[in-house]
Symmetry: C2
Subunit: 228 residues, 2 copies
Amino acid sequence: MGMDRAVVLLSGGMDSATLLGYVVRELAVSRVYALSFRYGQKHTRELETARWQARAAGVAEHREADLTALGDLTAPASALTGAARPVPDLRDLTAAERRQPPTYVPHRNLAFLSLAAAYAEAVGAADVFYGAQAQDEYGYWDCTAEFVARLNRLLALNRGRPVTIHAPFAAKSKADVLALGLRLGVDFARTWSCYRGQAKPCGTCPSCVERAAAFRKAGAPDPLAVSI
Amino acid sequence: MGMDRAVVLLSGGMDSATLLGYVVRELAVSRVYALSFRYGQKHTRELETARWQARAAGVAEHREADLTALGDLTAPASALTGAARPVPDLRDLTAAERRQPPTYVPHRNLAFLSLAAAYAEAVGAADVFYGAQAQDEYGYWDCTAEFVARLNRLLALNRGRPVTIHAPFAAKSKADVLALGLRLGVDFARTWSCYRGQAKPCGTCPSCVERAAAFRKAGAPDPLAVSI
Protein backbone atom coordinates (compact mmCIF):
# COMPACT_ATOMS: atom_id res chain seq x y z
CA MET A 1 0.00 0.00 0.00
CA GLY A 2 2.98 2.31 0.40
CA MET A 3 1.79 4.00 3.56
CA ASP A 4 4.37 6.02 5.38
CA ARG A 5 2.38 6.29 8.61
CA ALA A 6 -0.61 4.64 10.25
CA VAL A 7 -2.33 4.30 13.62
CA VAL A 8 -2.86 0.78 15.03
CA LEU A 9 -5.38 0.05 17.78
CA LEU A 10 -3.50 -2.20 20.19
CA SER A 11 -5.45 -3.94 22.94
CA GLY A 12 -2.80 -6.49 23.78
CA GLY A 13 -4.90 -9.45 22.67
CA MET A 14 -4.04 -11.98 19.96
CA ASP A 15 -5.71 -10.13 17.11
CA SER A 16 -4.21 -6.71 17.70
CA ALA A 17 -0.74 -8.16 18.33
CA THR A 18 -1.00 -9.94 14.98
CA LEU A 19 -2.34 -6.77 13.38
CA LEU A 20 0.64 -4.81 14.63
CA GLY A 21 3.00 -7.42 13.21
CA TYR A 22 1.10 -7.32 9.93
CA VAL A 23 1.27 -3.52 9.63
CA VAL A 24 4.93 -3.31 10.62
CA ARG A 25 6.32 -6.34 8.77
CA GLU A 26 3.90 -7.22 5.97
CA LEU A 27 2.76 -3.71 4.99
CA ALA A 28 6.12 -2.21 5.99
CA VAL A 29 4.54 1.03 7.22
CA SER A 30 7.49 3.11 8.34
CA ARG A 31 5.96 5.14 11.18
CA VAL A 32 3.44 3.22 13.26
CA TYR A 33 1.48 4.95 16.04
CA ALA A 34 0.02 2.40 18.46
CA LEU A 35 -2.91 3.39 20.66
CA SER A 36 -4.23 1.59 23.75
CA PHE A 37 -6.89 2.53 26.27
CA ARG A 38 -7.47 2.42 29.99
CA TYR A 39 -11.24 2.43 29.86
CA GLY A 40 -12.17 1.12 33.27
CA GLN A 41 -11.73 -2.54 32.33
CA LYS A 42 -11.59 -4.73 35.44
CA HIS A 43 -8.01 -5.76 34.85
CA THR A 44 -5.05 -4.35 32.96
CA ARG A 45 -3.27 -7.56 32.04
CA GLU A 46 -3.76 -6.77 28.36
CA LEU A 47 -2.26 -3.29 28.76
CA GLU A 48 0.96 -4.89 29.95
CA THR A 49 1.08 -7.12 26.90
CA ALA A 50 0.20 -4.16 24.66
CA ARG A 51 3.23 -2.31 25.99
CA TRP A 52 5.43 -5.33 25.37
CA GLN A 53 4.16 -5.80 21.82
CA ALA A 54 4.62 -2.12 20.97
CA ARG A 55 8.20 -2.20 22.19
CA ALA A 56 8.96 -5.43 20.36
CA ALA A 57 7.52 -4.08 17.10
CA GLY A 58 9.55 -0.86 17.36
CA VAL A 59 6.66 1.53 16.86
CA ALA A 60 7.27 5.25 16.43
CA GLU A 61 5.02 5.99 19.39
CA HIS A 62 2.71 4.12 21.75
CA ARG A 63 0.04 6.15 23.52
CA GLU A 64 -2.14 4.92 26.37
CA ALA A 65 -5.22 7.08 26.41
CA ASP A 66 -7.32 7.45 29.54
CA LEU A 67 -10.92 6.67 28.72
CA THR A 68 -11.99 5.82 32.27
CA ALA A 69 -15.09 7.91 31.59
CA LEU A 70 -16.33 5.15 29.27
CA GLY A 71 -16.08 2.60 32.06
CA ASP A 72 -17.86 4.95 34.47
CA LEU A 73 -20.71 5.56 32.03
CA THR A 74 -21.17 1.91 31.00
CA ALA A 75 -20.61 0.17 34.35
CA PRO A 76 -24.31 -0.66 34.84
CA ALA A 77 -24.47 -2.33 31.42
CA SER A 78 -21.32 -4.37 30.89
CA ALA A 79 -19.53 -7.28 32.54
CA LEU A 80 -16.19 -5.84 31.46
CA THR A 81 -16.56 -2.45 33.14
CA GLY A 82 -19.11 -2.97 35.92
CA ALA A 83 -19.09 -4.95 39.15
CA ALA A 84 -22.81 -5.68 38.93
CA ARG A 85 -22.47 -8.24 36.14
CA PRO A 86 -20.06 -11.17 36.32
CA VAL A 87 -18.07 -12.38 33.30
CA PRO A 88 -19.99 -15.44 32.02
CA ASP A 89 -18.63 -18.76 30.80
CA LEU A 90 -19.13 -19.34 27.09
CA ARG A 91 -21.19 -22.48 27.73
CA ASP A 92 -23.74 -20.47 29.70
CA LEU A 93 -24.48 -17.95 26.95
CA THR A 94 -27.93 -18.14 25.36
CA ALA A 95 -28.34 -17.80 21.61
CA ALA A 96 -29.34 -14.14 22.00
CA GLU A 97 -26.37 -13.50 24.27
CA ARG A 98 -24.01 -14.96 21.70
CA ARG A 99 -25.09 -12.13 19.40
CA GLN A 100 -24.66 -9.44 22.09
CA PRO A 101 -22.85 -10.93 25.10
CA PRO A 102 -22.80 -9.47 28.64
CA THR A 103 -19.15 -8.64 27.91
CA TYR A 104 -20.27 -6.15 25.26
CA VAL A 105 -19.21 -2.62 26.29
CA PRO A 106 -21.73 -0.18 24.78
CA HIS A 107 -20.21 1.79 21.92
CA ARG A 108 -16.69 1.15 23.18
CA ASN A 109 -15.19 0.35 19.83
CA LEU A 110 -16.70 3.43 18.21
CA ALA A 111 -15.21 5.55 20.99
CA PHE A 112 -11.83 3.85 20.47
CA LEU A 113 -11.99 4.38 16.72
CA SER A 114 -13.01 8.01 16.97
CA LEU A 115 -9.99 8.69 19.19
CA ALA A 116 -7.78 6.65 16.87
CA ALA A 117 -9.03 8.72 13.92
CA ALA A 118 -8.37 11.91 15.91
CA TYR A 119 -4.83 10.72 16.65
CA ALA A 120 -4.32 9.82 12.99
CA GLU A 121 -5.48 13.23 11.82
CA ALA A 122 -3.18 14.93 14.34
CA VAL A 123 -0.07 13.02 13.23
CA GLY A 124 -0.88 13.29 9.53
CA ALA A 125 -1.87 9.66 8.99
CA ALA A 126 -4.85 8.80 6.81
CA ASP A 127 -5.14 5.18 7.93
CA VAL A 128 -6.20 3.42 11.12
CA PHE A 129 -5.88 -0.34 11.59
CA TYR A 130 -8.44 -2.15 13.69
CA GLY A 131 -8.10 -5.80 14.72
CA ALA A 132 -11.80 -6.67 14.59
CA GLN A 133 -12.20 -10.36 13.85
CA ALA A 134 -15.32 -12.33 12.95
CA GLN A 135 -15.74 -14.44 16.09
CA ASP A 136 -16.69 -18.03 15.51
CA GLU A 137 -19.12 -18.71 18.37
CA TYR A 138 -20.22 -15.29 19.58
CA GLY A 139 -19.73 -11.75 18.43
CA TYR A 140 -20.30 -8.03 18.57
CA TRP A 141 -21.97 -5.68 16.10
CA ASP A 142 -19.00 -3.33 16.27
CA CYS A 143 -16.53 -6.00 15.12
CA THR A 144 -18.11 -6.63 11.72
CA ALA A 145 -17.08 -5.65 8.20
CA GLU A 146 -20.42 -3.85 7.80
CA PHE A 147 -19.68 -1.74 10.88
CA VAL A 148 -16.35 -0.69 9.38
CA ALA A 149 -17.91 0.00 5.97
CA ARG A 150 -20.58 2.27 7.46
CA LEU A 151 -18.04 4.02 9.68
CA ASN A 152 -15.89 4.75 6.65
CA ARG A 153 -18.90 6.22 4.83
CA LEU A 154 -19.30 8.52 7.82
CA LEU A 155 -15.63 9.50 8.04
CA ALA A 156 -15.55 10.22 4.30
CA LEU A 157 -17.50 13.43 5.02
CA ASN A 158 -14.37 14.98 6.57
CA ARG A 159 -13.60 18.13 4.57
CA GLY A 160 -9.87 17.74 5.12
CA ARG A 161 -8.13 14.43 4.39
CA PRO A 162 -10.54 11.70 5.54
CA VAL A 163 -9.24 8.90 7.74
CA THR A 164 -9.99 5.35 6.59
CA ILE A 165 -10.43 2.44 9.01
CA HIS A 166 -8.96 -0.90 7.86
CA ALA A 167 -10.03 -4.16 9.46
CA PRO A 168 -8.07 -6.77 7.52
CA PHE A 169 -9.19 -9.62 9.84
CA ALA A 170 -12.91 -8.87 9.81
CA ALA A 171 -13.64 -11.89 7.62
CA LYS A 172 -11.00 -14.20 9.08
CA SER A 173 -11.50 -16.90 11.70
CA LYS A 174 -9.49 -16.72 14.92
CA ALA A 175 -7.43 -19.69 13.71
CA ASP A 176 -6.59 -17.84 10.48
CA VAL A 177 -5.42 -14.80 12.45
CA LEU A 178 -3.37 -17.03 14.73
CA ALA A 179 -1.75 -18.75 11.76
CA LEU A 180 -0.79 -15.37 10.30
CA GLY A 181 0.59 -14.26 13.65
CA LEU A 182 2.69 -17.39 14.00
CA ARG A 183 4.05 -16.88 10.48
CA LEU A 184 4.92 -13.26 11.37
CA GLY A 185 6.73 -14.36 14.54
CA VAL A 186 4.30 -12.81 17.03
CA ASP A 187 5.07 -13.93 20.59
CA PHE A 188 1.68 -15.14 21.83
CA ALA A 189 3.06 -15.67 25.33
CA ARG A 190 2.92 -11.87 25.40
CA THR A 191 -0.76 -11.56 24.51
CA TRP A 192 -3.71 -11.68 26.88
CA SER A 193 -7.19 -12.91 26.02
CA CYS A 194 -8.93 -13.88 29.27
CA TYR A 195 -11.80 -11.59 30.25
CA ARG A 196 -11.22 -12.39 33.93
CA GLY A 197 -7.62 -11.25 34.23
CA GLN A 198 -6.48 -13.36 37.16
CA ALA A 199 -2.96 -14.77 37.51
CA LYS A 200 -3.70 -17.42 34.88
CA PRO A 201 -6.30 -17.46 32.11
CA CYS A 202 -9.56 -18.93 33.43
CA GLY A 203 -10.05 -21.25 30.46
CA THR A 204 -13.85 -21.00 30.42
CA CYS A 205 -14.79 -17.40 29.55
CA PRO A 206 -15.80 -16.82 25.92
CA SER A 207 -12.43 -15.34 25.01
CA CYS A 208 -10.40 -18.18 26.59
CA VAL A 209 -12.49 -20.87 24.88
CA GLU A 210 -12.12 -19.13 21.54
CA ARG A 211 -8.36 -18.82 22.01
CA ALA A 212 -7.97 -22.49 22.93
CA ALA A 213 -10.00 -23.56 19.88
CA ALA A 214 -7.82 -21.43 17.60
CA PHE A 215 -4.61 -23.00 18.91
CA ARG A 216 -6.14 -26.47 18.56
CA LYS A 217 -7.07 -25.77 14.92
CA ALA A 218 -3.64 -24.36 14.19
CA GLY A 219 -2.04 -27.43 15.77
CA ALA A 220 0.20 -25.23 17.89
CA PRO A 221 0.61 -25.15 21.68
CA ASP A 222 -0.61 -22.01 23.46
CA PRO A 223 2.28 -20.67 25.54
CA LEU A 224 -0.30 -19.39 28.04
CA ALA A 225 -2.35 -22.60 28.07
CA VAL A 226 -3.95 -24.10 31.13
CA SER A 227 -5.78 -27.41 31.23
CA ILE A 228 -9.41 -26.80 30.33
CA MET B 1 -42.49 11.74 20.77
CA GLY B 2 -43.43 10.31 24.16
CA MET B 3 -39.87 9.58 25.26
CA ASP B 4 -39.45 8.80 28.90
CA ARG B 5 -35.67 9.27 28.91
CA ALA B 6 -32.99 10.78 26.71
CA VAL B 7 -29.36 11.91 26.78
CA VAL B 8 -28.57 15.54 25.85
CA LEU B 9 -25.07 16.67 24.88
CA LEU B 10 -24.58 19.90 26.80
CA SER B 11 -21.57 22.06 25.94
CA GLY B 12 -22.83 25.20 27.64
CA GLY B 13 -23.11 27.15 24.40
CA MET B 14 -26.25 28.76 22.97
CA ASP B 15 -27.31 25.80 20.87
CA SER B 16 -27.04 23.11 23.52
CA ALA B 17 -28.71 25.30 26.16
CA THR B 18 -31.61 25.79 23.76
CA LEU B 19 -31.58 22.06 22.96
CA LEU B 20 -31.86 21.22 26.64
CA GLY B 21 -34.80 23.59 27.01
CA TYR B 22 -36.41 22.06 23.92
CA VAL B 23 -36.04 18.47 25.20
CA VAL B 24 -37.22 19.29 28.72
CA ARG B 25 -40.03 21.72 27.95
CA GLU B 26 -41.16 21.15 24.36
CA LEU B 27 -40.68 17.38 24.14
CA ALA B 28 -41.44 16.93 27.85
CA VAL B 29 -38.96 14.08 28.25
CA SER B 30 -39.29 13.06 31.87
CA ARG B 31 -35.77 11.84 32.66
CA VAL B 32 -33.03 13.85 30.96
CA TYR B 33 -29.37 12.82 31.25
CA ALA B 34 -27.07 15.72 30.37
CA LEU B 35 -23.49 15.00 29.36
CA SER B 36 -20.58 17.46 29.17
CA PHE B 37 -16.89 16.93 28.51
CA ARG B 38 -13.57 18.16 29.77
CA TYR B 39 -11.60 17.41 26.65
CA GLY B 40 -8.56 19.60 27.08
CA GLN B 41 -10.22 22.74 25.77
CA LYS B 42 -8.17 25.82 26.64
CA HIS B 43 -10.82 27.24 28.92
CA THR B 44 -13.73 25.86 30.91
CA ARG B 45 -16.06 28.84 30.84
CA GLU B 46 -18.64 26.80 28.94
CA LEU B 47 -18.50 23.99 31.53
CA GLU B 48 -19.59 26.48 34.18
CA THR B 49 -22.55 27.53 32.07
CA ALA B 50 -23.35 23.89 31.28
CA ARG B 51 -23.62 23.17 35.00
CA TRP B 52 -25.85 26.16 35.48
CA GLN B 53 -28.15 25.18 32.59
CA ALA B 54 -28.41 21.57 33.79
CA ARG B 55 -29.41 22.72 37.26
CA ALA B 56 -31.92 25.24 35.93
CA ALA B 57 -33.52 22.63 33.66
CA GLY B 58 -33.85 20.12 36.49
CA VAL B 59 -32.21 17.19 34.70
CA ALA B 60 -32.21 13.73 36.25
CA GLU B 61 -28.42 13.63 36.07
CA HIS B 62 -25.57 15.73 34.69
CA ARG B 63 -22.29 13.94 34.05
CA GLU B 64 -19.00 15.63 33.22
CA ALA B 65 -16.86 13.07 31.47
CA ASP B 66 -13.09 13.39 31.38
CA LEU B 67 -11.90 13.18 27.79
CA THR B 68 -8.60 14.95 28.32
CA ALA B 69 -7.05 12.22 26.18
CA LEU B 70 -8.75 13.76 23.14
CA GLY B 71 -7.10 17.10 23.82
CA ASP B 72 -3.71 15.41 24.30
CA LEU B 73 -4.01 13.50 21.03
CA THR B 74 -5.26 16.44 18.95
CA ALA B 75 -3.18 19.28 20.41
CA PRO B 76 -0.89 19.53 17.36
CA ALA B 77 -3.88 19.90 15.05
CA SER B 78 -6.43 22.19 16.68
CA ALA B 79 -6.62 25.75 17.93
CA LEU B 80 -9.07 24.68 20.63
CA THR B 81 -6.87 22.04 22.26
CA GLY B 82 -3.31 22.98 21.33
CA ALA B 83 -1.07 25.87 22.21
CA ALA B 84 0.68 25.78 18.83
CA ARG B 85 -2.24 27.30 16.94
CA PRO B 86 -3.97 30.50 18.01
CA VAL B 87 -7.72 30.98 17.78
CA PRO B 88 -8.27 33.04 14.60
CA ASP B 89 -10.62 35.95 14.02
CA LEU B 90 -13.48 35.14 11.65
CA ARG B 91 -12.41 37.90 9.24
CA ASP B 92 -9.02 36.22 8.78
CA LEU B 93 -10.38 32.84 7.68
CA THR B 94 -9.81 31.86 4.05
CA ALA B 95 -12.60 30.20 2.06
CA ALA B 96 -11.03 26.78 2.64
CA GLU B 97 -10.69 27.49 6.36
CA ARG B 98 -14.36 28.41 6.56
CA ARG B 99 -15.13 24.84 5.54
CA GLN B 100 -12.68 23.31 8.07
CA PRO B 101 -11.50 26.03 10.47
CA PRO B 102 -8.38 25.88 12.67
CA THR B 103 -10.83 25.54 15.58
CA TYR B 104 -11.92 22.14 14.25
CA VAL B 105 -11.01 19.42 16.78
CA PRO B 106 -10.39 16.19 14.83
CA HIS B 107 -13.21 13.69 15.35
CA ARG B 108 -14.23 15.36 18.61
CA ASN B 109 -17.94 15.27 17.96
CA LEU B 110 -17.86 11.59 16.99
CA ALA B 111 -16.03 10.84 20.24
CA PHE B 112 -18.64 12.86 22.18
CA LEU B 113 -21.50 11.10 20.44
CA SER B 114 -20.07 7.62 20.93
CA LEU B 115 -19.80 8.30 24.68
CA ALA B 116 -23.29 9.81 24.69
CA ALA B 117 -24.61 6.69 22.96
CA ALA B 118 -22.77 4.52 25.51
CA TYR B 119 -24.34 6.52 28.34
CA ALA B 120 -27.77 6.22 26.72
CA GLU B 121 -27.44 2.46 26.36
CA ALA B 122 -26.35 2.15 30.00
CA VAL B 123 -29.32 4.13 31.36
CA GLY B 124 -31.84 2.50 29.04
CA ALA B 125 -32.40 5.49 26.76
CA ALA B 126 -32.69 5.02 23.00
CA ASP B 127 -32.28 8.68 22.09
CA VAL B 128 -29.43 11.17 22.15
CA PHE B 129 -29.92 14.87 21.38
CA TYR B 130 -27.13 16.76 19.69
CA GLY B 131 -27.13 20.56 19.25
CA ALA B 132 -25.36 20.64 15.89
CA GLN B 133 -26.40 23.72 13.99
CA ALA B 134 -25.79 24.66 10.36
CA GLN B 135 -23.38 27.57 10.82
CA ASP B 136 -23.99 30.51 8.57
CA GLU B 137 -20.46 31.67 7.74
CA TYR B 138 -18.23 28.70 8.54
CA GLY B 139 -18.80 25.13 9.56
CA TYR B 140 -17.70 21.63 10.41
CA TRP B 141 -18.37 18.32 8.66
CA ASP B 142 -19.41 16.76 11.95
CA CYS B 143 -22.20 19.30 12.52
CA THR B 144 -24.21 18.46 9.39
CA ALA B 145 -27.46 16.57 8.88
CA GLU B 146 -25.62 14.15 6.58
CA PHE B 147 -23.13 13.36 9.36
CA VAL B 148 -25.99 12.51 11.71
CA ALA B 149 -27.78 10.44 9.06
CA ARG B 150 -24.68 8.36 8.35
CA LEU B 151 -23.94 7.95 12.05
CA ASN B 152 -27.47 6.65 12.60
CA ARG B 153 -27.03 4.14 9.79
CA LEU B 154 -23.94 2.93 11.64
CA LEU B 155 -25.61 2.78 15.07
CA ALA B 156 -28.56 0.87 13.60
CA LEU B 157 -26.30 -2.20 13.42
CA ASN B 158 -26.48 -2.55 17.23
CA ARG B 159 -27.95 -5.98 17.95
CA GLY B 160 -29.62 -4.74 21.13
CA ARG B 161 -31.80 -1.62 21.07
CA PRO B 162 -30.04 0.85 18.76
CA VAL B 163 -29.48 4.41 19.91
CA THR B 164 -30.65 7.17 17.57
CA ILE B 165 -28.99 10.60 17.38
CA HIS B 166 -31.34 13.55 16.92
CA ALA B 167 -30.04 16.91 15.72
CA PRO B 168 -33.19 19.05 15.52
CA PHE B 169 -31.21 22.25 14.76
CA ALA B 170 -29.04 20.86 11.97
CA ALA B 171 -30.98 22.77 9.31
CA LYS B 172 -31.66 25.89 11.38
CA SER B 173 -29.76 29.17 11.32
CA LYS B 174 -28.22 30.45 14.55
CA ALA B 175 -30.88 33.18 14.65
CA ASP B 176 -33.64 30.55 14.43
CA VAL B 177 -32.12 28.61 17.33
CA LEU B 178 -31.80 31.80 19.34
CA ALA B 179 -35.45 32.70 18.65
CA LEU B 180 -36.53 29.26 19.86
CA GLY B 181 -34.37 29.61 22.97
CA LEU B 182 -35.82 33.02 23.78
CA ARG B 183 -39.34 31.62 23.40
CA LEU B 184 -38.43 28.73 25.74
CA GLY B 185 -37.05 31.14 28.34
CA VAL B 186 -33.40 30.09 28.07
CA ASP B 187 -31.14 32.45 30.03
CA PHE B 188 -28.48 33.36 27.44
CA ALA B 189 -26.50 35.27 30.06
CA ARG B 190 -25.65 31.75 31.25
CA THR B 191 -24.29 30.50 27.94
CA TRP B 192 -20.76 30.85 26.64
CA SER B 193 -19.76 31.05 22.97
CA CYS B 194 -16.33 32.72 22.80
CA TYR B 195 -13.54 30.40 21.70
CA ARG B 196 -11.02 32.47 23.65
CA GLY B 197 -12.56 32.18 27.11
CA GLN B 198 -11.17 35.31 28.72
CA ALA B 199 -13.08 37.39 31.28
CA LYS B 200 -15.30 38.82 28.54
CA PRO B 201 -16.13 37.45 25.08
CA CYS B 202 -13.52 38.66 22.57
CA GLY B 203 -16.09 39.71 19.98
CA THR B 204 -13.97 38.77 16.97
CA CYS B 205 -13.52 34.97 16.98
CA PRO B 206 -15.83 33.04 14.62
CA SER B 207 -18.14 32.00 17.43
CA CYS B 208 -18.48 35.52 18.87
CA VAL B 209 -19.21 37.05 15.46
CA GLU B 210 -21.83 34.40 14.76
CA ARG B 211 -23.47 34.96 18.14
CA ALA B 212 -23.61 38.73 17.66
CA ALA B 213 -25.17 38.33 14.21
CA ALA B 214 -27.83 36.00 15.60
CA PHE B 215 -28.82 38.50 18.30
CA ARG B 216 -28.90 41.30 15.72
CA LYS B 217 -31.22 39.26 13.47
CA ALA B 218 -33.44 38.33 16.40
CA GLY B 219 -33.63 42.01 17.43
CA ALA B 220 -32.71 41.09 20.99
CA PRO B 221 -29.84 42.37 23.15
CA ASP B 222 -27.14 39.83 24.06
CA PRO B 223 -26.81 39.82 27.84
CA LEU B 224 -23.12 39.01 27.39
CA ALA B 225 -22.56 41.61 24.67
CA VAL B 226 -19.46 43.72 24.32
CA SER B 227 -19.01 46.45 21.78
CA ILE B 228 -17.55 44.94 18.61
